[in-house]
C-alpha cells in the first residue's frame, strides 16, 4: 500500500466515470434511432460499476500472504447492460420502420435522466481529479524532505 497506488485507484475511477459519460452520450445521440445493426430500435445502455477488491477469499488470502496487506479496491466497469424498459411506440405510418399497424418503436430514453446521469459522472470525475491533485501534492511534499 504505497502512496503511488492512490494514483492508480483514482485513475481507475477517472476511466470508469469517463466511460459512463461516453455511454450517456451514446444514449442521447441515439435517442431517436429506430434502426440498428442488431435489428429493432437502439436499446438504452447502462454501466455497472464493480469494486475490484471484491475477490474470493482464497485470492484475498494469497494477496495478503504475498503483499502483507489487504488490497485497496479500485473501481472498474464490470459490464454494460441494456435497459429493459419497453420501447416507446409512436404512430408514424409513413416511417420506413413502421410496423403493420403504423407504429414505430423508439428507444425509451429520457433526456432528463441522461443529463442527471451525466452531471453525476462529471462531478465524480472532478472529485477524483481533486484526489489525484492531493496525492501528487503529497508525493511532492515527501520529495521535498530531501531538499
Amino acid at each position: 500500500m504505497s502512496i503511488f497506488s492512490t494514483l492508480e485507484i483514482s485513475g481507475s475511477a477517472l476511466a470508469a466515470e469517463r466511460q459512463r459519460a461516453e455511454v450517456v452520450a451514446a444514449n442521447m445521440a441515439n435517442a431517436e434511432t429506430t434502426h440498428t445493426a442488431a435489428g429493432g430500435p437502439y436499446r438504452r445502455k447502462e454501466v455497472v460499476f464493480s469494486s475490484s477488491g471484491n475477490m474470493p477469499f482464497r485470492m484475498m488470502l494469497a494477496n495478503f500472504r504475498t503483499l502483507g496487506f489487504h488490497p485497496i479496491p479500485a473501481v472498474r466497469v464490470a459490464r454494460i447492460v441494456d435497459d429493459p424498459t419497453p420501447n416507446v411506440m409512436r404512430y408514424e405510418p409513413d416511417h420506413p420502420d413502421a410496423n403493420k399497424d403504423g407504429y414505430v418503436a423508439y428507444p425509451a430514453i429520457n433526456p432528463i435522466q441522461e443529463m442527471v446521469d451525466l452531471m453525476s459522472a462529471v462531478r465524480t470525475y472532478q472529485l477524483n481529479a481533486s484526489a489525484v491533485t492531493a496525492s501528487k501534492q503529497m508525493i511532492q511534499q515527501a520529495l521535498d524532505i530531501l531538499k
Partner: protein, 119 residues
Amino acid sequence: MNDISNPMVQMLEKFLTLASQRHTLITSNIANLDTPGYRTRDFDFRGELKRAISTDYPAMTPVAQAVPGLLERPDGNNVNMDRESMLLAETQLQFNIGVQLIRNHFQQIMTAINEGGKR
C-alpha cells in the same frame, strides 16, 4: 539512537505512514462512490497512531473496517461525498504538517553542522 535519527523523527515517520495509508483508503472510497454495494472503509487514526508509537517496530498496516452510521443509498453504497472530500483535505494537511516537522528537524541539525564551523 543518535541525534540525527531520534525518537521524534521515528514518530513522525509513523505518522506520515499512517496518513498516507489513510489517504489511500479515502481515495479508494472516492473511487467507489458509484459502486453498488460498496461500504466506506476507514481506520481510527488516533488509535492506530497511539498503537504505532507505543512500539519500536515500524508502523503496521492498520486494518480498515467498514464505517458505521453512514446513510445507505438504495443500491447498498454508503459513501458520503462530503465526508470523503473533507477527510481528503484533512489527511493532506496532516501529511504536510508531518513533512514540515521532519524538514524543520533536519534543518536544525544542518544549522548545528554549519554554524559549528564558523567563528
